[in-house]
């Protein structure tokens, strides 16, 4: 069964073809209790078993955004921030995502911070 990616979700593909997917895993890390899938990707937890990350992907508003991770240096770090809002009104409470930023960051050989982040 293929699940429709949840809005603001991410997934990462690794060298052996394994895909660590937020929607499929209900955003619950299989490695560290109470952490999410992005935290796994950020801390490279799947790489011991599946090899280096080769693709980092985000989903937002029915669009898919890919970063070819093989073009980035080894010290590159994924970035995913999502903005949330929780409302209290008229005896009801509800929450939603209101924005998302996606990209990467690394320090080049001179130590300069290189960061590419897109507001989706």
């Amino acid at each position: 069964m293929t699940l429709i990616p949840q809005d603001t979700s991410v997934q990462a593909e690794y060298a052996d073809g394994y895909i660590h997917d937020e929607t499929t895993l209900n955003d619950v890390s299989p490695y560290v209790e109470f952490k999410n899938i992005f935290d796994d990707i950020l801390h490279k937890r799947p790489e011991a078993e599946h090899g280096p990350m080769v693709r980092f992907t985000a989903f937002y508003k029915n669009a898919k955004y890919d970063i070819d991770w093989t073009t980035l240096p080894d010290n590159a770090r994924p970035i995913r921030f999502r903005d949330g809002a929780s409302y209290l009104s008229g005896g009801e409470e509800w929450s939603e995502w209101t924005g998302m930023r996606f990209g990467y960051q690394f320090n080049d050989e001179t130590g300069k911070n290189i960061q590419e982040v897109q507001e989706l």
């Binding site: 209900n26 955003d27 952490k35 935290d39 929780s86 209290l88 009104s89 409470e93």
Partner: protein
């Protein structure tokens, strides 16, 4: 899953008694989270204020980090002579109808910190990678009336309190 959010109300001595997942948020003249506001209304002709109300956003679920939390209201002036005031607090005071001394509740966002897994009261930090449950600092609000209020008894229109944050 990601993070999930709920609002907790605090009543009683030092506003320390929590009622979790409390969406009812009417300002009224009694310090509890159960009495209908119509049973304990604010008498504007006496220039009364509501009890101060303490509420905090509580996070559960999963995340990598939480940051940039704010509280705001969509409108803080229901009518001439009526004002909704508010502030972010790091400790609780027993709710009272005495004017809280807070400024008009922000319509753009009051910064609040993430405290810990058990209470909203404490200095907290502006971002956190702690996991499990996370209480944001509490928001204290009060509906105040002044002698310039010319309206009669009745409800104000519904207001919306919003908490915003960023998570990774």
């Amino acid at each position: 899953m990601a993070s999930t959010q709920s609002w907790t109300e605090y009543n009683g001595a030092s506003a320390a008694t929590p009622t979790a997942s409390r969406a009812e948020a009417n300002w009224k003249r009694i310090d509890d989270s159960t009495t209908p506001y119509s049973s304990s209304p604010i008498n504007s002709t006496n220039n009364e204020n509501s009890m101060t109300k303490y509420q905090a956003l509580v996070f559960a679920g999963t995340w990598s980090s939480l940051s940039v939390l704010t509280y705001k209201i969509d409108n803080n002036a229901p009518a001439t002579g009526l004002s909704i005031v508010g502030s972010v607090v790091t400790s609780g005071t027993t709710p009272s109808t005495t004017a809280s001394g807070d400024s008009a509740m922000s319509t753009t966002g009051l910064a609040a910190n993430f405290n810990n897994s058990t209470t909203p009261y404490g200095a907290g930090t502006s971002s956190s990678t702690a996991s499990g449950t996370m209480y944001a600092n509490a928001l204290r609000t009060q509906l105040q009336t002044t002698s310039s209020y010319a309206g009669g008894p009745g409800d104000i229109t519904t207001r919306t309190i919003t908490a915003t944050w960023t998570e990774s």
